[in-house]
Symmetry: D2
Subunit: 356 residues, 4 copies
Amino acid sequence: MTKKKKDIDYKTYLQLPALLAAQKPISAAHDEMLFVIVHQTYELWFKQVLFEVARVQKIFARRTLADADLRIVSEALARVDAVLKHLVRQVDLLETMTPLDFLDFRHVFRSASGFQSMQFRALEISLGLRAEDRVSYDGRAYASYLSEEDRKTVSKLEKGETLFEQVDKWLARTPFVSMGKFDFWKAYGRAVAEMLDADRKTAAADKTLSKAARDMALARLDNMQKQFDALFDGKTHKQSAWRLSHEAVKAALFIMLYRDQPVLQAPFKILSALMDIDETMTLWRFRHAQMVQRMLGMKMGSGGSSGHDYLVETTQKNRIFKDFFALSTFMIPRSGLPQLPPDVQKKMGFRYDGGE
Amino acid sequence: MTKKKKDIDYKTYLQLPALLAAQKPISAAHDEMLFVIVHQTYELWFKQVLFEVARVQKIFARRTLADADLRIVSEALARVDAVLKHLVRQVDLLETMTPLDFLDFRHVFRSASGFQSMQFRALEISLGLRAEDRVSYDGRAYASYLSEEDRKTVSKLEKGETLFEQVDKWLARTPFVSMGKFDFWKAYGRAVAEMLDADRKTAAADKTLSKAARDMALARLDNMQKQFDALFDGKTHKQSAWRLSHEAVKAALFIMLYRDQPVLQAPFKILSALMDIDETMTLWRFRHAQMVQRMLGMKMGSGGSSGHDYLVETTQKNRIFKDFFALSTFMIPRSGLPQLPPDVQKKMGFRYDGGE
Amino acid sequence: MTKKKKDIDYKTYLQLPALLAAQKPISAAHDEMLFVIVHQTYELWFKQVLFEVARVQKIFARRTLADADLRIVSEALARVDAVLKHLVRQVDLLETMTPLDFLDFRHVFRSASGFQSMQFRALEISLGLRAEDRVSYDGRAYASYLSEEDRKTVSKLEKGETLFEQVDKWLARTPFVSMGKFDFWKAYGRAVAEMLDADRKTAAADKTLSKAARDMALARLDNMQKQFDALFDGKTHKQSAWRLSHEAVKAALFIMLYRDQPVLQAPFKILSALMDIDETMTLWRFRHAQMVQRMLGMKMGSGGSSGHDYLVETTQKNRIFKDFFALSTFMIPRSGLPQLPPDVQKKMGFRYDGGE
Amino acid sequence: MTKKKKDIDYKTYLQLPALLAAQKPISAAHDEMLFVIVHQTYELWFKQVLFEVARVQKIFARRTLADADLRIVSEALARVDAVLKHLVRQVDLLETMTPLDFLDFRHVFRSASGFQSMQFRALEISLGLRAEDRVSYDGRAYASYLSEEDRKTVSKLEKGETLFEQVDKWLARTPFVSMGKFDFWKAYGRAVAEMLDADRKTAAADKTLSKAARDMALARLDNMQKQFDALFDGKTHKQSAWRLSHEAVKAALFIMLYRDQPVLQAPFKILSALMDIDETMTLWRFRHAQMVQRMLGMKMGSGGSSGHDYLVETTQKNRIFKDFFALSTFMIPRSGLPQLPPDVQKKMGFRYDGGE
């Protein structure tokens, strides 16, 4: 509004001549245009998503994270999820093409395949997907499908710090899990023990159950106790299935349980957004698997992939923020949660508020 | 599969270097990238939609329309609608930007505006929107916002045959509305008269109604009779509000009422798809109006438009296939429909079938 | 988990025998079942939405609103919006019914109409729709369509405090708009004046413009100054188009401009959610208008309504949180915003943070 | 319109007093209401879906299927799919509840679980899911989770004719696959052989390939030939993985390849709708699996189920119309398809058309 620029028109601003000249179907098959445009819009949106992730990573890379930035982080992540959800729905558009129509131009790309999408790989890596979390395909590393130049780019990305790692460090720094005399881990351990004890007594006294059922209930409670013991034990943590550090697990659980505390509301939003993104990327993989089965039946995917089965497997294995889902296992009902000491609670509030 | 081409990779096939270099935000505002990509994907999808409409128009342009082509027509139109619905949902993505964030770069386009989207104009015109159906904006013709080159293109398009006109002619050729001794218009006129007569008798004899209520009911029936008389009267048709020719109105109503006849199933699909497209384009205008109000409040739109009110008005006036919605007014319950004579019905069936 | 209850099965828990016995189509027309179930699920979701609104209203009714409650308020409002969006999409399901199929059972409800949905009226009123904001229909008050009992209920609701009023009071209490030496209104007035002055100078010096264009630009800036003057002037506020109190307008604008301050992040979420709800209810009205036109053409709606036009009009008039949209008109670019004094900014942060 | 009924109001018509009294949350937890209403609307929509499937089954149960009925069948199936897609999206609403909020009332249903939804079982069975297609859960038959009364109902349903079986028989009756001198199976076998021969020659002559690559390409073609041989061979069909009868496989492939022939357009729509339904039910299972993981982490599902893994497994195994997806494997490009003889093609057209 203040600085005037040279006038520009819509077409020039959006670079439409270049953009609308970039559709080059190879065959004369009508539906190849749809195929091209579906994938081009995917790539444009991947660019947007990477742009948002880069913003978030830049904020997390700062030594200290200003509270004012947390809104930006959670809104950026929410936008990433909104775009990904849009891309999931876009699979429906590709499915307006029938397998027979696909056959009309399937021969044009011999080895070309979505496997070669550099931007999608960059997204996975930036978020934190590790090489070892990937389902291998045809026994080959995913990077072997990329051009040499792209391989260098992903290799560099893989050496950089990922969003997962940044979030892990940020969580591990959360101040309130241990403050003054308050130690969340200990307090929570006691609360869990009390809850399980009470459950054990209830089960043991439950006359409506047969002895076998009672024994099963008690065994289940013992098993839960063991799971919790493992959770609390920092020494065995590294050997466990957790990818998050022990400190980050603790903080994430703390945030989820005490999310209504003013200072935790924004961090809770961020954890929820990361779970949304993980869920939506997984759904994208699944819809993609379904689409491949519909288009190709049991044939090989384009680029030689056995497509459907591979993609279904990735929905279970190629996960990034799975640990946050696992935390639900370790929540106890609100009524049993340890009370926060008043001084801790006060520190979690706003400065303007309270008796200052 | 049979002819082998030179190998090509994903990036080259999709022209990614050109595509992903075409985002040129002018400001340093973070959200300008979203703005660019939202509009670029709109334009890519407009290209797809125009591509489908062109296919349909080419088929309708043939002297005779093969029955085998009707599936292609209705699937292409269904795809147009599916893409447009996707674009309506995409407005949600733009709304992840707040008005304050928009202000950070709103100054970069002085007169640039969606008003200058040549492809959107081409879509409206190809489908059949006439200059006189358009809400005028700032008292200027929409074409005055276009570059000289684009103005020539739309002017040429406006002189060509639109989908609306093609559909009108195609409908007017429908053979079954008058075949042998069967004249749909006359038979339907009799059925309507019978229905209204019966309704009049019922109303007149309804003791539960007050005299005033009875008189109102009778007046309403008289009014319906007049509307139907006007429908049937070919002489006054040209002066009426219908845009469809009289013959086309007749055929469209026939198709809607007897859509289960094998030969009418595909035409019915086509009419339904045209209504879907009209409805979805209207919804697109409305969501766009909402978005403009949210972003700009009561300010002028970018490009100087008063945006919101103009867009709301277009939802009612810039309509193309409105006549097909009006037909619902002239349907009578199935129980009162004239029976088709057996010989007509037989001709509407498949050759393999029946006692031949 | 701790207290054991008598075992219960799925069917009993969900009251399925009663629920699934409550579909009583009157005619033998196949599609009447769809009509019944579409409307029953609408009503079930209205119940849910009312349940969430009641929770929010109960929180706002407290003398002081705990910061811990703001997350609950914004999540409840977000859920309301999510449900309403689901109901908008549900219109698509009703449109799988054709006008001809609707005619098969349209006669069964003579005066019954969605106009009689008590829960929808309760929702409108609880959110804050006033009788005077409503488009009148057939010249009759909406309540005249309700049963006597329902009329009493809505009349009582109309006398109670609505969410709009609660939000207005809550906003008016916002402490930071005037704190110590900082007066947001004055500081903002100065910033606006500076921006407009600079714009005037730029326009006056712009040699690329004709005299006429320059005069128009200057007139536009004068007009903006007048709009802002009216905004700042408490005395004329009551005569203005604003429904929000002057204090609430000020606070809402403050929140929107300084939303990244920790203490304003939750209030900003709440204002955004209210705008989302307003937008989605408006969209619901519009989709409903489209559906009515498709089903009935130009006929009267069921219950005697002229349906379509009435519903389109409600999308512009029956609005509740329109004022928040108007605020976009009064935002200036972030670069021109007054800086918050350090002591004010400090008070808007968390207690744990900073140099304490 | 013609027969007047006693006046009825909206509330009575929709049985709102009963409907809105049927929500009986057990706990005081706020989110239990959402849980109840999500599941009640699921059940209402299941009723609608069963109602549409019953209509379709009644039509298929007739000795001869009128061509006029095919539109009804395909529209009913399309509606089933539209409703199911709505239910998939509805999972998002349940996910507005957090795991911690769920814990507040999870204890109220000890063994109650969606496993006990009689209507969902009825839907699976009516469509054609066989007991042997089901993933077993905890080693128990799904029916063991039902009440005795419900067990009887499903057992009866399982003995009845399912939609899958009806479709199989209907397909097997398709007249055109073998008509006069035309035998689709033989003609197609020849076309496949020609295509594979040409591919073999191309591969053998391809100098750009290494010997190993050439050998692999040839081996792949040999393998395809074997798959096709197995497809054509009626004798081994019963031992194959196909669930469809050999005649039905043949007809379904014929319909998919020659879908533009007027007489095949409606059958093609029906096959496509069945695939849509299969895909959407599978997606429903997957979204349900994701939701369970989010809510429960690695805990047991309500009703004791290990939920997530079980549900993921059902997406691959509990499939009904999978065979139609497998057909894509056996399509060859349109350019290689056998031409239909003119007399067969004529019989597939409409009676009104052509040289009669």
